[in-house]
Symmetry: C2
Subunit: 820 residues, 2 copies
């Protein structure tokens, strides 16, 4: 039977006690002055598994060691004290977090609160608030994300229309609102009398060359204004606000600290900049940055609740939920958002988080839907109103679309990476605003003449995926000659494309090439910019063209067996469906999403009927893409920027052992501290000469059996405080990590530091395959592990060593793993 003598007396949770030999986890109170980074050569840092030992939190004036201090003041002894201690659970910027420690700290906290709950009613209430704070937090995040998304939507829509004209009766109306009573098609502009284009404002005609040129110039000028504003705001106030932010959020969620990346300035500038850069008509979407915006909101609200704000591991639960809310508001797809967060963005995703993320995503979508006054039920983006069945034969073109999507996606990734690398290492990178202005100018000049490129990308996608109704005359894509023919014993309506369709196809092809080229140069510029919409657009164009082709094939050969087998419908083939499938294919090729892609597209189109075509295209796209180039766009950008991201999806497939990866290498010596034979001077010298974040403690130099692990921060502070506050401690005092005093102690009083020793470091043997080590780093969220042989300490493996090793084994330059 197991001995379950309670090892904590009532006061014990906050005091010391238990086993006498319990290690003491200690967070010093002074903020550290040295800003050394994890990226240099350093052995780990972090302190593992201090669940039962974190009791010993001392206020600044108290020393961090020595038995006399036992339980004097504790982390949870008073919430005031808690607030007084800076740096608790905090890490330095650009450092890796220690998941195990943070989760342990949270459980410790939770235990304390549960215990306290019985003391008084107030504690009970506090406990209940604490228990519900996770839900409250995601509720607030959801509401805020919905509101911000609504504002961005409305603002971007208004400013986009501002390029073309204004609504004189109410200048704050966009064109749709201005023309609402007239209910006009999105394609045809200017028929609405309340809405005035810029030429009209200046008293010119609606049509003609002169007004056209005036409109052209105004369009380009507005675009330049918006783009320069956006780029300048980003450059001046929040450099982190550029790009889509998803690679960085992936890195942050995998357990990395980037201060300010999710701050309030980033939120503000990204929201405003996003509106501006979308309105500038640049080839970018606002869906990806929504994830970043929502994550900022998540981060900001998490600071309201100490449970999350003060614990980086717990905070990531909120951030995962916020990322789901971001996709949810971007596409109006709550389930897809959760799956996106699970599949693509998040790293550590316990099932509790799944449920909470879903709640957050749903609230956000609900709030957004309530806010957008003119939006219909579904279309945050586009809604497919048709509900016709597809026939089995069509899987062939769908798979073809998938293959093309994979090819286009990979081509885009490679071209974009090449350009980004060029920008990074050339002088171009020094003139971000100029670059934005130049690209905006080119975009504006090139895109205006072509009606497909002139309109918003969202509108174009909507046009491409929608069905041609018989009465539609404004849309050139729908210029069909309709006729009824008799086939067998039924009359069916067939359609022959008119000249408008043919000219549209040529225009669409031009649009495809233009948008592809522009997106390659746009994504990566220093403005908020997403990739979802451009990818969807490219795919929708491709799909629509293929769809019209298949439609005409079916029209020309209506008697082929695979058409006649089905109930002969009026129009067998829906080109709009091909646009949807093509959009999914290219987006899949670019991002390598799978389930979340299908679910998002399914939620967008709103019909369970088209899951199989979407799945077929997504699978083909993913396979072809993976065969052509291993990484999706986000992973490629992570690698380009050298973020320390240990991919949990890729398998480590090499046969190296822990002994091959550990530091130090054969000819170097391992820096260790002995448990009872080094003096204060020795330790201080060690701290001076090396810059590791932590040091293993061993029995003795001769017998390097592992005793524990001690953090540099803790050691620095404890020695400083000891020398200052405890009498009898001098430079020749022995630093003691044991509870028993060595017998032949003739010198000055020893400095007892057992409390700051982590006695439960994670270890592996030198013969452990790196596969297992990598697995442990991923699943347990380690910062470092100690390598032993027959109990003897051989070395240390840090997360950075692992990342470098992975790179090396994949024949990439290991030195790219750093933050630059």
């Amino acid at each position: 039977m197991i001995d379950i003598t309670p090892r904590s007396s009532p006061g014990d949770v906050i005091g010391g006690g238990g086993r006498g030999s319990s290690s003491g986890y200690h967070r010093e109170t002074a903020t550290e002055s040295d800003t050394e980074r994890d990226f240099g050569h350093s052995i780990g840092g972090g302190n593992h598994h201090n669940q039962r030992t974190m009791h010993h939190q001392h206020v600044p004036t108290h020393s961090a060691f020595g038995d006399p201090m036992d339980g004097a003041l504790s982390f949870y002894g008073s919430s005031d004290v808690q607030d007084d201690i800076p740096g608790i659970g905090q890490y330095e910027d650009f450092h890796t977090i220690d998941w195990q420690r943070d989760i342990a700290r949270d459980r410790m906290r939770h235990r304390y609160i549960v215990k306290k709950r019985q003391d008084s009613l107030w504690d009970l209430i506090k406990g209940s608030i604490d228990a519900g704070s996770g839900w409250l937090c995601v509720l607030l995040v959801g509401i805020a994300a919905g509101c911000v998304a609504g504002m961005v939507d409305i603002g971007a829509s208004w400013m986009s229309d501002l390029k073309h004209g204004i609504c004189p009766p109410a200048f704050w109306f966009n064109r749709e609102q201005c023309c609402y009573p007239a209910k006009q098609s999105v394609f045809e502009e200017g028929n609405c009398s309340t809405w005035k284009t810029w030429p009209e404002i200046f008293g010119l005609d609606r049509n003609g060359t002169g007004p056209y040129i005036v409109a052209y110039i105004w369009y380009v000028l507005w675009a330049l204004l918006f783009a320069s504003l956006s780029a300048s705001l980003v450059r001046m106030f929040a450099p982190y606000a550029c790009g889509s932010g998803i690679p960085e959020i992936k890195t942050i969620l995998s357990g990395f600290i980037i201060r300010g990346y999710l701050g309030k300035w980033t939120l503000l500038i990204k929201s405003v900049g996003l509106m501006l850069s979308v309105s500038a008509g640049l080839t970018l979407g606002k869906e990806g940055p929504m994830v970043h915006i929502a994550s900022c909101i998540g981060n900001i609200f998490s600071h309201v609740f100490p449970k999350y704000g003060r614990n980086e591991a717990k905070k990531r639960e909120i951030l995962s939920a916020a990322a789901a809310a971001g996709v949810s508001v971007a596409f109006g797809a709550p389930i897809g958002g959760v799956l996106f967060s699970l599949e693509e963005v998040s790293y550590y995703f316990p099932l509790k988080t799944l449920w909470r993320s879903f709640f957050c995503a749903l609230i956000a979508a609900f709030v957004l839907r309530s806010l957008t006054p003119f939006g219909n039920e579904h279309s945050v983006l586009f809604f497919v109103e048709y509900n016709k069945p597809w026939i089995f034969f069509e899987l062939i073109p769908f798979v073809f679309l998938g293959i093309m999507g994979g090819v286009i996606g990979t081509f885009f990734i490679k071209a974009n990476l090449w350009w980004c690398r060029y920008r990074k290492f050339s002088k171009l990178g020094q003139y971000p605003v100029m670059e934005v202005l130049f690209v905006t100018l080119v975009t504006g000049i090139i895109c205006y003449p072509n009606p497909f490129t002139r309109m918003n990308m969202n509108e174009l996608i909507f046009l491409l995926v929608s069905k041609c109704s018989p009465g539609d005359v404004t849309n050139p894509l729908c210029e069909y000659k309709r006729m009824n023919i008799t086939m067998g014993n039924s009359i069916i309506e067939v359609t022959e494309p008119g000249p408008g369709v043919y000219s549209s196809i040529w225009l669409l092809m031009l649009t495809f090439i233009l948008k592809l080229a522009l997106t390659i140069f746009t994504f990566g510029m220093k403005v908020p910019a997403g990739l979802f919409i451009p990818s969807l657009l490219l795919g929708a164009i491709m799909g629509r063209i293929v769809g019209i082709g298949v439609e005409q094939f079916a029209y020309s050969y209506p008697n082929i067996w695979f058409f006649t087998g089905e109930c002969a419908d009026s129009n067998l083939i829906t080109p709009g469906l091909y646009a949807v499938v093509g959009a999914a294919a290219v987006l899949g090729g670019v991002t390598r999403m799978t389930v979340s892609l299908v679910v998002i597209m399914f939620e967008l189109t709103g019909g369970v009927r088209y899951i199989v075509p979407l799945m077929a295209a997504a699978m083909a796209s993913k396979w072809v893409g993976d065969a052509l180039g291993r990484q999706g766009i986000y992973d490629a950008h992570i690698a380009l920027n050298g973020y320390p991201f240990l991919d949990s999806k890729e398998e480590f497939a090499h046969t190296t052992l822990a002994a091959d990866v550990m530091q130090p290498k054969r000819n170097e010596t391992l820096n260790v501290i002995t448990q009872d034979s080094m003096t204060v001077d020795d330790v201080e010298n060690l701290l001076k000469e090396t810059e590791h974040n932590g040091y293993p403690v061993v029995v003795s130099r001769e017998n390097q059996y592992l005793v524990g692990f001690v953090l540099r921060r803790d050691l620095n502070l404890a020695i400083g405080n000891g020398k200052r506050l405890i009498e009898g401690i001098s430079s020749s005092s022995i630093v003691l990590f044991t509870s028993t005093q060595p017998i032949q102690n003739l010198g000055p009083q020893p400095l007892k530091l057992k409390k700051i020793l982590d006695m439960a470091p994670i270890t592996v043997t030198d013969q452990t395959p790196m596969e297992t080590v990598v697995d442990m780093f991923r699943k347990l969220g380690l910062r470092q592990t100690l390598v032993t042989h027959n109990g003897r300490l051989l070395g240390v493996i840090t997360k950075k060593d692992v990342l470098r090793h992975v790179k090396q084994m994949d024949n990439e330059d290991p030195n790219t793993v750093l933050f630059n």
Copy 2:
């Protein structure tokens, strides 16, 4: 820089070599005779992390040790050899699997195939087939699951109708098919002239007391026949086929071996028995067992592909996908199925599996839909045809439904558990067939008179969730008086319930009580039985009653602000929606599902519009349920049966240390093997005296520094073979686990067993908190871990020790953790 000297020469992957000191993983070839179980007092077993060392696979006639054998024959040297070796990667029945080892074995295999691929075209083809085998396997599983589900559906439907009558023109038609041309409501029976009820077959009238009694008797007799057949089949041929199977599948997926639980006999008997027991009119559903059936299919097909069939960890990827397919065919909800598998059933769910599971679920749903000839697009179960908005105020009754769902669910769990425990420990458990017959008799006699209980549960649910159309006269629930009243400046239609509605409410209440009581006694009987449908039914009844109440409230007080604020619709309140929400609430209360519940209900009802109400009810239900009783029905049954399931959702919140849990306890001694000082006799005595599954190897008795871990199976075989086949080995030979020979070796030739030593066991220190240890067991899938202090071995913690400790800390009897 890291030394990346390639440590494997071309032949090295299949031979030995590399570092000289590489440990050898060895699987002996004889099947073991001793059938000791993991459940007794035993220290672990399993062998960790042998990725680079699994080369040494020897055919039976070769000894498993000694350098001369190095690389003589290998695991992958020849596929024939591979097939010849029984027991590879296999575990004994009722043992825990070692995830790390199995995953490592698969990677080893994969590396070998990738390497081999360059050798010849045939190897390239084989490699490609291997790479695609996962997809092929889930494709086959999906198709087969769809087919089997279709057969069960059709069979159950036919046999259910057989209780009432027969279709003389074509006896293999069920009533719906028989009456198809007439297209009748499901509620009113007998209006179809082709379908003959039993009284009519015997020449009696359709109505009247006599025919009623004849029909009654036939109904009960058929029910008894079906039930007895079902129970007897299960009892005689496949005892594992009873129940829903989900608790066992959860346990299997968490890494436990139950031979035959997913075998072909179980599949066959469960399918047939399920049809029979559903047809018998018992209060059970066929949806839960579908998961078991699909998992059987997954298991059977996985044996077609050695990659999965021979590797328990990889096989579980297929099983996860199959479980998703099971839910997918049960409800026609592929996304819900995947989320169910992820959230509820699976344990180890890499993202690759997510995508494959989705594919499998989709194929299964697609096949099923193609098979069911009369089913409409959506309704594998029920489809909500209305699409009216709900008003904000309605969230109050929805949350109320959620609370009630939690209460009812918890009550059901407690009552059912109480009865199951009684059955288990009383004489009742010895007469399973009698029990089934008795319950069937009672069910038949009680349920026939009430039209709601007489009809199939699916049909009743359909009735409850559907909207009342004005012309509906056959459904008593729709007996409304309709009238138009003028309110403000609009004329609205209001409805007042007629007497049929009131009497229906009373009947529904009676139905609720009956079904609740019957389900409590039915679930757990020795027939295939699921819980989803009874739970949904209970919830739908409750919801419909509440819905009618709210509807009448709105009718009586139409001017209350929260009604008038919305666009005054003809019928504000849809009672059918309340039935849907109530169904979700009770199912949530019983199973404690969250996201998957909402998604399944969303896919069933087919409208994104009702996600928020469903979510509100599911959340309320889950919270209330968790507050009243911690476990869902599946976890409760796992605990009842003592399955070794380490829940990955519950947090371990205690402060014990590894030292408190490890074996041996303070006064016992640890059984170890020394690396170079024990004789063959010593080891054989140790093997005789103890029954641990494995033994740690240490430097010496005095210096118990950990060297490695050796499995009992391996040790037994190696010593036997050594004594038999190598000259000079006698009982006094030293058993040597080092590569260097001890100097003072005067005795007979030593027996070198370094090859069977696992040199990379996972270790923790004695001060490691159990939280971390439990986390490591869960996330790394360990069988055991070794406990050290300053490098010295102190003890062992097995998975069973952990499970017992968790029980103990939760104040439960730790001795319940065993298979009984």
